[in-house]
C-alpha cells in the first residue's frame, strides 16, 4: 500500500487535479494498475454529467468543413460588406460562440473526465502545438483542432501527432503555411514579390511554420538547424494549404465549402526542386516530400530529447533531473516516439516519486482553477464561469498568442497580483458562489473532504489559521493556502 503523501503526489501530477477520494483510490488500486488504466483511456466512456454538457454544445464534434459551412461569416454571407451592420455583427458573434463552446468542451472534460492523465496530456500537447483561438477561422476550428489533431495522438506516436497538427487547417493558418508557396516562376527577377497582385493571391515563401516546427515542435532551439535549414524546409512545405486553392479541379469544386476546412496540397504552389535539410536532400512533386521531411524531424535525436525534457518539466519539475530526461529520451528513441512508452518511463522512474518533488511545482492558473474545481466537486455543467476566472488570471483557454504556448513553470506564473487574484477566487469558490443556487443563500463548500485529502501537506501555519475561522470560510481558506498553490 502506498503512503498517503505518495498517492496525493500521483493524483496531483498525473491528473489535472485530484478530487477527494482520488488519492485513496490510487492507493487501493495500486499505482501500476491505475497508471496502466490511465495510459489506455476510453474517451467515449464519460460520465453522463460530462457527456450531456458536450451534447448541449451545438458546434461540438463537427468537422472543420461543416464548421466552416455552418458558422463562418464567409460561408453565411459570401459578400459580408453588403450586409447590414447588425447582421454582420450577429454572424461574427456566431463565430465567437463556437470558440466559447470549444473552451467549455475543454474545461468540462478537464474537470469531469475520469481519464485525467489524458486531460493533462491534452493540455500539454495543445500548448506544445499551440494555435491562437482568435486568429481568423481558428475561432471556429480550435475545438476541432484539439479533438482531431491532438486528442487521438497524445498516447500514440509522436510522428502521427506532428503530421496531424502540420496538416490541420488551424495550424496551417496560425503559422501561415497556408500561404507558403513557390515564388512566381517567370517574369519575377528576384522571386520576392516583384509585381502587385490582387489581395490574397500573393505567392512566395513564408518561413513562419518551417522555423517554429523545428524550434518549438521538434528539434528545439538548440537542435542544430541553421537559417538555411529553415529556408529549405519552407520550400519543402510549399503548397501545404487549406481548402480550395488556385488548383481546384471540378470534383472538389462540387464540395467547395466542405473543402474549405481541409488540408490541401496545391501542386502548382509547390516548389519541387531538391532542397537540403539537415544534410539530407528532399524533392518531389507532392506532399510526400514534406511528410518525409517532418518524419525525419520527428525521429531526430534532438527531438527525442526536446520532447522528453518538456514532458518532464510539465509533469515532474521545472528543472527536471538529467537522469530522468535521459531515460525518457532513450525510450523515445528505442520505440520510435511511442508517447505511451515515454510517459510510462517517466511515471515509473524513481525521480518521479522522489519526495523532494512532492508539492514542489507551482500550479499554472489552469491547473489551479481546474484542481480547485475538482477538489470542491464543482458540477461539470457549471464550468462556464471558470473560463472568466482563467481570463482574469492571464491564462484564457485557447488564448495564447505566441506559438510557444503557455509556460508551465513557476518563474512564468508566480506574480504577486496574480496570487491575490487566486485568493479572491478561492474564497468565492469556497463560499459556494460557483454552485447553482438552490435556496436563498450560497451553500458553502464542505471543508472536511478537502482537508482530509490534503492532510499530508497542510502546514502548521495553515492548520492554525484554519482553527481560528468559522467552518463556512474553511474550504476557501484551504484552496487559498500556500499548499494548494503547489502540486
Amino acid at each position: 500500500m502506498i503512503a498517503k503523501a505518495t498517492a496525493l503526489h500521483i493524483a496531483n501530477r498525473l491528473q489535472v487535479g485530484p478530487a477527494p477520494g482520488d488519492p485513496a483510490h490510487i492507493a487501493s488500486t495500486g499505482f501500476e494498475e491505475w497508471l496502466d488504466r490511465q495510459l489506455h483511456p476510453q474517451p467515449s466512456q464519460l460520465p453522463e454529467s460530462v457527456a450531456s454538457v458536450l451534447r448541449s454544445l451545438p458546434s461540438f464534434g463537427k468537422d472543420c468543413g461543416t464548421l466552416y459551412a455552418d458558422y463562418s461569416v464567409k460561408a453565411q454571407a459570401p459578400d459580408p460588406k453588403a450586409l447590414p451592420r447588425e447582421q454582420k455583427k450577429e454572424l461574427k458573434r456566431g463565430e465567437r460562440r463556437v470558440w466559447r463552446e470549444a473552451q467549455i468542451a475543454r474545461l468540462v472534460r478537464a474537470v469531469g473526465s475520469p481519464w485525467q492523465l489524458q486531460e493533462a496530456l491534452v493540455e500539454f500537447w495543445f500548448n506544445h502545438f499551440n494555435v491562437y483561438g482568435k486568429k481568423g477561422l481558428i475561432k471556429i476550428w480550435v475545438g476541432a483542432y484539439e479533438d482531431q489533431a491532438i486528442r487521438p495522438h497524445t498516447l500514440g506516436r509522436f510522428s502521427d501527432l506532428l503530421l496531424a497538427t502540420a496538416k490541420h487547417p488551424a495550424m496551417l493558418i496560425y503559422l501561415d503555411n497556408s500561404r507558403n508557396s513557390a515564388p512566381a516562376p517567370e517574369g519575377a527577377s528576384s522571386g520576392m514579390g516583384t509585381a502587385r497582385r490582387p489581395k490574397g493571391k500573393a505567392r512566395g515563401i513564408n518561413e513562419n511554420y518551417a522555423r517554429e516546427v523545428m524550434e518549438l515542435h521538434t528539434l528545439g532551439v538548440d537542435g542544430g538547424y541553421t537559417q538555411a535549414d529553415v529556408v529549405s524546409l519552407a520550400h519543402i512545405l510549399t503548397g501545404w494549404t487549406v481548402g480550395r486553392g488556385g488548383d481546384m479541379d471540378s470534383a472538389t469544386a462540387i464540395n467547395a465549402y466542405n473543402d474549405k476546412g481541409a488540408f490541401r496540397f496545391a501542386p502548382r504552389r509547390h516548389d519541387s526542386s531538391p532542397e537540403t535539410l539537415l544534410g539530407r536532400t528532399f524533392s518531389g512533386g507532392d506532399e510526400r516530400e514534406g511528410e518525409a521531411a517532418l518524419l525525419m524531424l520527428a525521429s531526430h535525436p534532438a527531438t527525442a530529447h526536446h520532447i522528453s525534457f518538456q514532458l518532464a518539466q510539465y509533469f515532474v519539475a521545472d528543472q527536471p533531473d538529467t537522469a530522468l530526461v535521459d531515460a525518457m529520451t532513450r525510450t523515445f528513441r528505442a520505440t520510435n516516439g511511442d508517447l505511451r512508452a515515454v510517459v510510462r518511463t517517466m511515471a515509473t522512474h524513481e525521480e518521479f516519486l522522489a519526495p523532494t518533488n512532492f508539492g514542489a511545482k507551482f500550479k499554472t492558473p489552469y491547473r489551479y482553477v481546474v484542481s480547485a474545481a475538482r477538489a470542491t466537486g464543482t458540477a461539470p455543467f457549471s464550468v462556464e464561469p471558470l473560463n472568466a476566472v482563467l481570463e482574469d488570471l492571464g491564462q484564457r483557454t485557447y488564448g495564447c498568442v505566441s506559438p510557444d504556448g503557455y509556460a508551465c513553470t513557476q518563474s512564468a506564473w508566480l506574480d504577486p497580483n496574480g496570487l491575490l487574484q487566486r485568493l479572491s477566487f478561492a474564497m468565492r469558490l469556497g463560499a459556494g458562489e460557483y454552485r447553482p443556487v438552490t435556496g436563498a443563500n450560497f451553500e458553502p463548500v464542505n471543508p472536511a473532504p478537502l482537508r482530509e485529502m490534503l492532510e499530508p501537506v497542510l502546514s502548521a501555519a495553515t492548520l492554525s489559521a484554519l482553527a481560528q475561522i468559522p467552518r463556512e470560510k474553511q474550504a476557501g481558506a484551504i484552496l487559498g493556502s500556500p499548499e494548494f498553490m503547489r502540486c
Binding site: 501561415d176 513557476q410 485568493l423 474564497m427 487559498g480
Partner: protein, 413 residues
Amino acid sequence: MRRRDFLGYSAAAGGYALVSLGSRGWALQNPNAGKQRLVVIFLRGAVDGLNVVVPYTDQNYYAMRPTIAIPHPGQTQGALDLDGRFGLHPALQSLMPAWKERSLAFVHASGSPDETRSHFEAQAYMETGTPGVKITPDGWMNRLLAALPGQHAPTEAINFGMTLPKILAGATPVASIPTHERGYGHEMHAPAEDEAANAIFDRMYTGGDAISVAYREGRQAQTQIMSDLARDMTEAAAGAPSPAGFADDAAKLCQLMRQDPTIQLAFFGLSGWDTHVRQGGAEGQLAYHLKALGEGLAQLRTGLRDTYGHTVVFVISEFGRTAHENGNGGTDHGHGNVMWVMGGPVNGGKIYGNWPGLDEEELHEGRDLAVTTDFRGVLAGVLGDHLKLGKAALAGVFPQNSAQSVSNLIRVA
C-alpha cells in the same frame, strides 16, 4: 531594499504584520528617491523597423518592398519626413509634436549582437541584457532597480500585465497591475475589501519561500496602488477613452507616476507585431498597431505633465524583419531594427546610429538590416546619463558588456 531587506523590514514590524501605508507612505520613507523615471515598452513579435523609420532615400528600399513600402514624404500617404533621409510611418502622426520639440529620437540599425531569429531566445536575451547567455536568472530592469539609490518600495517598478516578464524578474520586488486588455478595473479585487480573508491569509503566508514573499509584496503593492488610483478616479475618467487599450493603460501610468514619486520604472509588453502576412503599407495591420502605440506614447507625453521632463521612454523589440517583403505581403524574422527613445531629457529630433544601407553586400546574411549599434550601448548610455549610474553600477546591470555606450542621447541638464 533588496528582497532580503524587504523581508527583514516586514519581520521587524512584528512577526509579519502588514505595514499600513498612507497614500504617500513610501514616499515619506523614501525621501532620497530619484525623480528620474524610465518606461520600457517591449514590442513582442519583432516590429518591422524599416517601415517605422523609413529609409526613403535608399532606393533598395522600394525595390525590396514592392507592395508594402511607405511612399516618399509628400506623396499620398507618404512617410512623415524626419531629417531628409528618413521618414516616420504616417500612422505615427501623433508622435510628430514630440519629434518637432526634440524630445523623440531613434537609433537605427540597432539590435542584438546575437544572431538568433527565434522570438523567444531573442526576447530573453534582450530582457536579461546578456545576449547569447541563456542561464542569466534575472532581467536587466530588476538589476537596475537594485542599483538605484535609496530604499526600495514594492511599487518602485510597475509591470502592466498579469505575469512578471523576464526583464523584471529577480531579487527586488516589483508590482503588477492588470492591463486594459484584461478588463482593467472591472474585476480587480481590492484586498482591503475582504479584511477577514486577508487576516486568514496573512497568517498562512508567513514563510520565506517565494510564494509567501510574492503574497506579501502583492498585499503591500496593491494597498498602495489601489489608494493611488482611488484618489483620482474623476481625473482619470475625464480623459477621453481611447479605442486602443494601450492609450488607456498609458493614461493610468501617467496618473500613477504623477501621484506616486516612488514609481521609477515601468514596463509594458505589447504583442501583435509578427507580421508574416499582409502587413500592409501606409494602412493595414502594422499601421493599425502603430497608430495605437503612437497614441499611447503621445498620451504619456502630455499626460505625464511635469514628470515628462524627468522621464525617458524606450520602445524596443527583439529583432527586425527581412529587408525584402516575403511572398505574402509580409516580412519574416530578420536582424537589425530601430529603437525609439522619447522623453523630456532626450536630445531628440535626431536619428542616431550608423546606417549601413540596404545594399545587398551590406545586409546581414544577404537578407536583413545589419546591426551596427548594440542595444546595450543605447540602454547603458541612457542609464548612465539619465539615471546617473556609474561605471560599476552599469556593469552590474549589463555584465560582460563591451558595447560602446551611445553618448549625447540625453541632454546635459
